[in-house]
Amino acid sequence: MRMGRRIATTLRRTVIHAGPTVLGIIVLDFLLLQLMPGDAADVIATEAGVATAETMAAIRERFGLDQPVLTQLMNFLGHLAQFDLGYSPRYNMPVLDMIMMRLPGTLLLMVTALSLALAMGVIVGSVMAAWAGRWPDRVLSVVVLLLYSMPGFWVGLMAVVLFSVKLGWLPSDGNMTIGAELTGFGLVADRLSHLVLPALALASFFVAVYARLTRASMLEVQRQDFMRTAHGKGLHPFFIQLRHALRNALIPVTTVAGMHLGNLLGGAVVVETLFGWPGMGRLALEAVLARDFSVLLGVLLLSSFLVILANVTIDLLHAWLDPRIGEAG
């Protein structure tokens, strides 16, 4: 019962905060984008390598760029109020459709990478903490340091060179074999084989972060009174580490992981480009370069929803992990 109330409180608070946050993000994004030099018509004309004044004017009219900035903002917000993200004249389709084509790919990549990073990070960190100062800790420290200092795209490139060029085990690009028309197990295996390398590339840095964080938090907990009590009760050391040390150590790890979701979206741009992965990060990058602001605002809006959603999840997780959290609210 108390658990339910805590969760309700957390949810209510988040929803109240989310509205103004999202509106602020949208307006700020919109205004910041106005500062970028050049517009969609410049890009389209430059890509075409040729233009006339008439075609430029026609493009601007189609994009609504001939309107004053404030009118453009009001139009956008007006559409948004009707749950309409607008239309991309560049690609000649609704922004929502464009995002929905990319969202599953990005979510799959991000959730896989984050889960992978959390799972591996926590395991490695626990092992390091349990053997602190002895050789497993030393060896893993070096590995973690390497992962921490190598940029994800480089890890990805090297993995591609090894696994898809030299060994030929895994595909180097895309998210599926095009035109293969697979079903059932074949389909899943195909998707998974395409997912492995990008997910690893995206996760590598975060494995290092979570491993170090887990190690530090667990070592800090080791000296607490309740740990001594647990030892005193004669519990098995494995369960002490799992139920007492790790559970406490998870609070900082999950907090940081929640914040990393935004970073992952940023990192996804690089990894998606490298692996030709049809995701939202690339869509955002392409929208920036093309000055296709309706698409970009749509992506940013959705990303802010994702981040807020992740924060809610983390809050709820904390409420479950540590009963003291959420009571004050």
């Binding site: 410049d42 075609t55 430029m56 690609y91 898809s164 060029v165 180097s172 035109g179």
Partner: protein
């Protein structure tokens, strides 16, 4: 004995390859079936090259939407959707006989009404068509298989503008009464082409399938045509290396990767099929700049640049030195006379002194920013080259980077630049590709690839305007040669080189580049070893 045998066999093979049923590249008989994977640098905005001429669109368009003509490597017209054509002696009437029995993918017949509507659309919404077809007063359709273009003035370049990607023939019944820019046909096209649209997964791929009812019997040969979108150069190299990509054009990998890739036995490097459009890279001056408004300063810059070294270092040798804005590839118009300003650093120094820019503190004459067109990965390296060589004569160059939108705004709208490393596509004719850069009436603020130098010479204007309507090829060439001589002396820009583009393909791919526009054409003949 064995020598005789070999010779005989070679002669026999040579004889055999001339037989029509053999593959056109003299290989064995074509095979059918399979999936061709085209490595596509970036996502096209649309699948029909009607409202844009962006490179990513050109590759995907012609497979579905065809043109009236195709062209051999020397850009001589050959039949495609039109089987015969005549041009009246005054150059003002073009009569096209259309191929009978051609059907769009939805089963409707292709007729002269579609030609008339397409030309009309090209004239209004196509970025280049506005100029190319400007003189077309009307398109008459005396019968369903005859289309007559009536021109107000001659347009000697028009007959070379009718490829599938430059002048696509779209179905009238789909476009009539709609906004062509918003027409859904751009996202799921139907045409007369050898391949039918199947799906477009944004960010991943575009899939075309064999059109079993194609008008050319026995074609196409492959079952599926996949465009795989790979925006990363490294990823594209890997795709060619591990065989997951079959073909890509305009040198789809980093030039620095070419040497490594050339060692791989399964890759072929093709230079055919690049003669429809040549680029010329240049250093373009803003003639309103406080430095470059002086002819002597421009001449000094010209004297300071060793084009051969530039091509060797920046382009890894993949380029042809060029002194003229008309590319050497456009043999009918190119003037091969070298620049009057030879590579000579002493001369450069002397000219700068004369122009009133002596070496000052730190031996620097003046500081100037250099902007570059970010399309093409050698641009940045070229600018580093200019920074080094101009530094030697006392001009301190500060290289400024920006994305294409910012670049276009800076050069053509705000005009806040001194000089820029830029490139222009010549296309199939100087009137279409070159005139726009030097014609004073095309100094238009806000229009990319207009007269960015703000060059204004009435003599040049007269030559360009004359050549645009001159029917006599000899007189026309003379006008262009004179034009090249004048701009070569006056230097609104310094033409440097024409890039050499390679098509990279897996050796299992055959008959891919049979026309001037190579893989931008419909690729109906392409086949794969299985």
């Amino acid at each position: 004995m064995s020598t005789t045998f070999r010779t005989t066999r070679r002669a026999a093979l040579a004889g055999l390859s001339a037989l029509p049923w053999m593959g056109r590249d003299g290989f064995a008989a074509p095979k059918t079936g399979g999936t061709l994977t085209f490595v596509q640098n970036s996502e096209p905005q649309t699948l029909v090259a009607l409202t844009t001429t962006a490179t990513p669109v050109l590759t995907v368009s012609a497979k579905v939407t065809e043109g009236l003509l195709e062209y051999d490597y020397d850009v001589n017209p050959r039949p495609s959707l039109a089987t015969e054509w005549t041009i009246s002696p005054d150059g003002k009437t073009y009569t096209f006989k259309l191929r009978p029995g051609v059907k769009f993918h939805d089963g409707k017949p292709f007729t002269s009404a579609d030609v008339a509507h397409s030309i009309q659309l090209l004239k209004t919404v196509h970025p280049r068509g506005r100029n190319t077809f400007a003189n077309v007063a009307e398109v008459q359709t005396p019968d369903p298989l005859t289309a007559v273009l009536v021109l107000s003035k001659p347009a000697p370049y028009l007959i070379r503008a009718l490829t599938a990607a430059e002048a696509p023939m779209v179905p009238r019944h789909v476009y009539e009464g709609t906004d062509p820019r918003a027409n859904p046909n751009g996202n799921a096209p139907i045409g007369t082409g050898p391949y039918k649209f199947k799906e477009w997964v944004r960010g991943s791929h575009i899939l075309y399938e064999r059109n079993p009812d194609y008008w050319q019997a026995g074609l196409p040969r492959i079952d599926r045509f996949v465009f795989k979108i790979l925006p990363d150069t490294g990823a594209r190299s890997i795709a060619f290396e591990n065989g997951s990509g079959d073909i890509g054009y305009r040198t789809p990998v980093a030039l620095s990767d070419l040497e490594r890739l050339k060692k791989l036995p399964h890759l072929v490097f093709e230079t055919k099929g690049t003669s429809y459009s040549y680029n010329v890279q240049c250093l373009q001056f803003n003639l309103d700049s406080q430095f470059f408004k002086h002819l002597k300063v421009r001449q000094a810059v010209a004297h300071a640049i060793d084009r051969a070294l530039l091509v060797k270092t920046v382009c890894y040798g993949y380029g042809t030195v060029c002194y003229s804005p008309v590319a050497p590839g456009l043999k009918a118009f190119h003037d091969p006379t070298p620049s009057p300003y030879k590579f000579d650093l002493k001369k450069a120094e002397a000219l700068l002194d004369e122009a009133g820019f002596p070496r000052g503190a730190n031996k620097i004459r003046f500081k100037v920013p250099l902007d570059y067109n970010p399309i093409g990965d050698e641009s940045r390296r070229a600018c580093e080259f200019f920074r080094a060589v101009l530094g030697r004569v006392g001009i301190a160059v500060d290289v400024r980077a920006q994305d294409i939108s910012a670049f276009a705004k800076r050069i053509y709208t705000d005009r806040e630049f001194d000089f820029t490393f830029n490139g222009h596509s010549n296309l199939f004719d100087p009137t279409v590709g070159v005139q726009r850069i030097y014609w004073s009436k095309n100094f238009k603020k806000g229009v990319p690839f207009s007269n960015g130098s703000n060059y204004n010479n009435p003599k040049v204007d007269a030559l360009l305007e004359g050549a645009a309507v001159e029917n006599d090829p000899v007189k026309r060439k003379a006008m262009f040669v004179e034009f090249q001589k004048i701009v070569g002396e006056e230097l609104p820009d310094i033409s440097l080189y024409s890039p050499l583009y390679l098509t990279i393909k897996n050796k299992r791919v055959h008959e891919d580049s049979l026309t001037a526009d190579g893989v931008e054409a419909n690729m109906a003949h392409v086949w794969l070893d299985t």
